[in-house]
Amino acid sequence: MPVSTKKLGTSDAKWVNRREMATIVDAHARRVLGVSGQVFISKWKAGKYRKLDSDACPGVIELALLAPLPRRASGRKK
């Protein structure tokens, strides 16, 4: 699911914009769960995937990390 990317800043990372990110999440959702990115996000918010884990559905955790899902404010500081 590579998309066109461009270098920005000085981090040596390839930054993607919002549209490219949506394409990436959509492709990931289709590959891992067979649904669109939008359907994944809707079902996730509704709690449909709460019990899914890596063993039952490899790649679903990465998908959840990449998708624009609600997150708690508290993070683990580094």
């Binding site: 699911m1 590579p2 998309v3 990317t5 800043g9 000085t10 981090s11 040596d12 990372a13 390839k14 930054w15 993607v16 990110m21 990436i24 990931h28 590959r31 891992v32 709460r50 019990k51 884990d53 890596s54 063993d55 490899p58 790649g59 955790i61 990465e62 959840a64 990390l65 990449l66 624009p68 899902l69 609600p70 997150r71 708690r72 508290s74 993070g75 683990r76 500081k77 580094k78």
Partner: protein, 178 residues
Amino acid sequence: MAGKNEKEAADNFLRYLNETLSCVTTQPLTAFQQSKKLYKAWFNPPAELTTKSGAKLFLSFTQVLGAGPDPRAEGEFKVSTREYSYRLLQRVDVASREILAYHWHPNDSALRDPHLHIAAVPRVHFPTSRVCLEDFVSMLIWYYGVRPKMKHSEWMTIVRKNKKAFDQMATWKIQHPR
């Protein structure tokens, strides 16, 4: 790894991540700024690794990063790791079953502590402390035969330097203070 604003702090943190990962791959991370304070970094697609026997393995790396004021340095900003997934795969396919995976995803499931998945022992979430990227990269080289992209002394220097930075900057290592 601090910065004068959130974006600069994220850039500096991504440089640190890319440096550690450069020990085993030349593929740069992909990054996305979801908001002023929330960033994501991952390999797109999973990075190809070559072992000393010539076999291929693949690294799926994903981190969610939060950026905010640095409580230790007034006027500066720092990045916090909020979630991570480090997966070692036999195929480039993100949906393929991993050889092993270190996860910490407190926002996305009932299991909120860091844990390890091992393909040979399915359904078990082995509890771990927080796993730093440097230890994971070292494990790939030492135990999975991944061929480093540089001399032994060079990758060891990078891993030691960045692990020391992790030790100094991380505000938790065993159990997050909820």
